[in-house]
């Protein structure tokens, strides 16, 4: 079974838990005392990931770190439909990769602001928040035009991709970092749609949809 080196409050670890829940892949969560223990910075943990960060997966001896890389691996290996990481469609694959890099941006801004507020990280909070708003503004317009085009997701396909899963946690938890989504109604509608996916799972601060 896949082992996930995991911290419950981490947005990047949630990306993996959500992906495996959507793909219905069983996994074992190995809790890492990220805060306040800083277990990921210990010599012991650096034997697993020399970079000293989580998430990390261990799939039957195959060890992989970096949140977005793990999404690529999980979808490529465990999604029989080939939709989540669309390797057979070069144009769509390119789009997916492009939005995965966008997700690096939301991680380093919106989710960084959250670490500043919740776990007292020493970041330039104004720069984090301004950067998050800059990206959210772009994504909101992008998703608004997607809706006009009859599309629900970040990439142009009729189905979601790992790009949606890579961006979703940074967006949906942004208010914890003091980044309001009041100005981004398309973004809010898109988070509703992600929550309606079969197999969706939650974490502290991420609420399920109501019954409908």
């Amino acid at each position: 079974m896949i082992k996930l080196y995991d911290y419950e409050l981490s947005a990047n670890c949630y990306k993996q838990r959500l992906m495996m829940s959507l793909l219905d892949v069983p996994y074992e969560s190995v809790p890492v005392d990220f805060f306040p223990g800083l277990q990921h910075k210990t010599d012991e943990f650096k034997k697993i990931n020399p970079l000293g960060h989580i998430p990390v997966i261990d799939d039957d001896g195959y060890v992989l770190w970096d949140a977005h890389a793990i999404l690529v691996y999980l979808a490529a290996k465990y999604d029989p439909t080939g939709q989540w990481y669309p390797t057979s469609d070069p144009a769509l694959l390119g789009e997916t990769a492009s939005w995965l890099l966008f997700a690096e941006g939301t991680t380093n801004t919106a989710s960084a602001a959250r670490l500043y507020v919740n776990l007292s990280y020493d970041f330039d909070i104004d720069a984090c928040r301004a950067g998050a708003h800059r990206l959210f503004r772009v994504l909101d317009e992008h998703l608004w035009f997607r809706e006009r085009d009859g599309r629900d997701w970040v990439c142009s396909a009729a189905h979601p991709t790992i790009a949606d899963i890579a961006i979703f946690p940074d967006v949906v938890l942004s208010e914890e970092g003091g980044v309001s989504r009041l100005d981004y109604p398309s973004l809010r509608r898109w988070t509703d749609r992600v929550k309606a996916l079969p197999g969706f799972s939650i974490m502290p601060g991420v609420f399920p949809m109501g019954t409908s």
């Binding site: 317009e141 035009f145 009041l182 809010r188 109501g210 019954t211």
Partner: protein, 600 residues
């Protein structure tokens, strides 16, 4: 080109609080979504119910102030994410508090609502808006087409200044940059721009409404007066989004040069007056609401349905199980349960069975009251509250007793809670409210034409096997109710899980005793003589007492008892409540002892 406009009231225009402003577009309100908006510094939660009603509410739960925009919209009620308080569509009244599952929330717990009008594809609202939203002739005459709205970190007047210099191309020549622009002012928050091509005579007009979100933030809501051909729409939308995107950057740069204005302070209503003061004394049965019979129809043999619409303020919130007092033209007062589903306060619906030996109540409603008549009714009162935390709810209705059960079933269904509604009737033609039952699907099971023995056997089957968190609610004729209660007890249903409501109290009331009542809080002792009820004696001495049926069935006139032995003559209290001896129905029950000490 001119844009004749009608404005609500030129004299009061400068105060933005009295104006209508756009707060959302219709595209922002998809099925079961809750839109998070802001106007003049106040956050609002905007949601469209399944009946298409658009709710604009203060974005905070009355309980702990959590934003309602992170709650859930189940199509009829909005539920707060924090402790699950539920608020009704339209009225915003609280209908259920999970921490008090067996109680009916006070009707006065009501969130703040704001006006909402749909016009030109936009939702309009305001703090205290006068008249109607502004009308723009070019939009009235055209085919309004909503462009993408843009949030701007700049005060509305800076945005309007920028809009006066704004440029875009007419639909026919999007690729050039040579159009002539003409601006027409509409009001302090709106202007219209017409772009005319130099080579072609083609022109396009866009009306820009600037929503003042806060002192330093705005949203530009733009509407093209003529919808482009479908194939061209995306290009037009992108053209305007790009042009406005540049404007946003310029407006934000201009705003950054200015000192930061003070944020607007929306006044959050404190607890409403009704909740913060003692209620007005109510010396008699009151009927503050006036309703008109909008529709009267025969819903089953001898059963008339009535739809009652308000002739004044919107109708108040009700909860499943609630009833109203109807004051009849002949002076009689009768109680009828509301059959409405949750969130539907556009009208109250009741069902009235013509009683064979009517003493004038049902006969009057059947024979005298017609569509268009105005009746006085009380506010809804709930002495038959529904728990909404049960694993299984069994609703048992006999005849016209189906009315509160229909309201309960319609509340349970959208929450996905397991329930079944067993509807006993003499014959098929006695089955009422088919249109409501149809919406409940397989959960409604009808039992038609059973003898009393067969009914008893069926009830025994239905109530066989009590499980944890099961509840049964029973409403029907006295003998059936007695049978159901006996069977439930025999099948080990605890008293607290068996809820019932009688139509009337058929007990022969013995009022021959005389005794003293001591009102502990008021420090008053009164004598109750033979022939008078406690309720009457209290009222005779100016003590405010609510009441409704005044025959020991509805439970409205209950009073806590501190000392003394009670002679219960009502049919409202459960056996466990009677045994506890700590409350009394003052309209019929009396004292066995010489003295009762009441906690009033």
């Amino acid at each position: 080109m001119t844009n004749p406009v009608t404005l609500p009231d030129p004299v009061t225009l400068p105060d933005p609080m009295t104006l209508w402003h756009p707060v959302a577009t219709m595209l922002d309100l998809p099925h079961r979504h809750i839109f998070h908006g802001q106007l003049l510094g106040r956050e609002v939660a905007i949601w469209r119910a399944d009946d298409e009603f658009i709710n604009v509410w203060e974005n905070r739960c009355l309980h702990r102030g959590v934003r309602l925009s992170i709650g859930t919209n189940d199509g009829t009620e909005l539920t707060c994410r924090y402790h699950g308080w539920r608020y009704s569509n339209r009225s915003a009244g609280c209908t259920y508090i999970p921490a008090h599952p067996a109680d009916a929330p006070a009707r006065t717990i009501c969130n703040r609502t704001f006006a909402a009008v749909e016009q030109y594809g936009l939702v309009w609202s305001g703090e205290d808006p006068i008249g109607e939203p502004p009308t723009v002739a070019s939009l009235d005459d055209g085919t309004p087409f909503t462009l993408r709205n843009l949030p701007v970190n700049a005060p509305s007047q800076i945005v309007l200044d920028q809009l006066r210099q704004h440029r875009f191309q007419p639909v026919a020549s999007l690729d050039t940059d040579d159009a002539e622009m003409t601006a027409t002012e509409i009001n302090d928050y709106a202007l219209s721009l017409t772009s005319t091509g130099t080579n072609t005579a083609e022109s396009s007009t866009v009306v820009f409404f600037v929503q003042p979100v806060d002192s330093d933030r705005s949203v530009i809501r733009a509407v093209l007066t003529e919808a482009p051909a479908e194939v061209a729409q995306l290009a037009v939308l992108r053209h305007h989004a790009a042009a406005l995107g540049k404007l946003v950057i310029a407006a934000e740069a201009a705003a950054a040069q200015m000192p930061l204005p003070e944020p607007m302070q929306a006044t959050i209503n404190q607890v409403s007056l009704a909740l913060s003061v003692m209620p007005e004394p109510m010396l008699d049965r009151q009927a503050p609401l006036r309703v008109q019979v909008a529709r009267k129809w025969t819903t089953a043999r001898d059963i008339a349905g009535f739809e009652l619409v308000s002739v004044g303020d919107p109708l108040p919130t009700f909860q499943p199980g609630a009833h109203i007092d109807v004051h009849l033209p002949n002076g009689l007062v009768r109680q009828y349960s509301l059959t409405n589903g949750p969130g539907d306060t556009s009208r109250y619906r009741i069902g009235v069975k013509l009683e064979a030996n009517s003493t004038g109540g049902s006969q009057c409603l059947h024979d005298t009251v017609r569509e268009g008549d105005v009746l006085a009714i009380s506010e809804p009162r709930n002495n038959f509250p529904l728990r909404r935390d049960s694993l299984r709810t069994v609703l048992i209705a006999g005849g016209i007793g189906v009315t509160p059960m229909l309201a309960m079933a319609q509340a349970l269904k959208p929450m996905g809670l397991a329930f079944e509604l067993h509807y006993f009737a003499q014959a098929d033609e006695h089955l009422a409210f088919e249109e409501i039952r149809a919406g409940l699907g397989d959960a409604v099971i009808t039992h038609v034409g059973l003898s009393p023995d067969e009914t008893g056997a069926e009830l025994a089957r239905l109530l066989d096997g009590y499980g944890h968190a099961n509840q049964v609610y029973i409403c029907g004729p006295g003998p059936m109710l007695e049978a159901a209660r006996t069977i439930a007890t025999a099948a080990d249903w605890p008293d607290q899980a068996v809820h019932f409501e009688y139509f009337k109290n058929t007990t022969e009331i013995d009022d021959s005793s005389s005794f003293e009542i001591a009102l502990a809080r008021s420090a008053v002792n009164l004598q109750v003589p033979a022939g008078k009820s406690i309720l009457e004696v209290l009222r005779d001495h100016g003590i405010a007492m609510p009441s409704s049926c005044e025959q020991g069935a509805c439970g409205t006139c209950v009073v806590p008892v501190m000392e003394g032995e009670i002679e219960h003559q009502d049919v409202h209290l459960k056996q466990s409540e009677r045994d506890a001896g700590d409350k009394i129905m003052t309209c019929v029950s009396r004292a066995v002892s010489d003295r009762l000490v009441l906690d009033i």
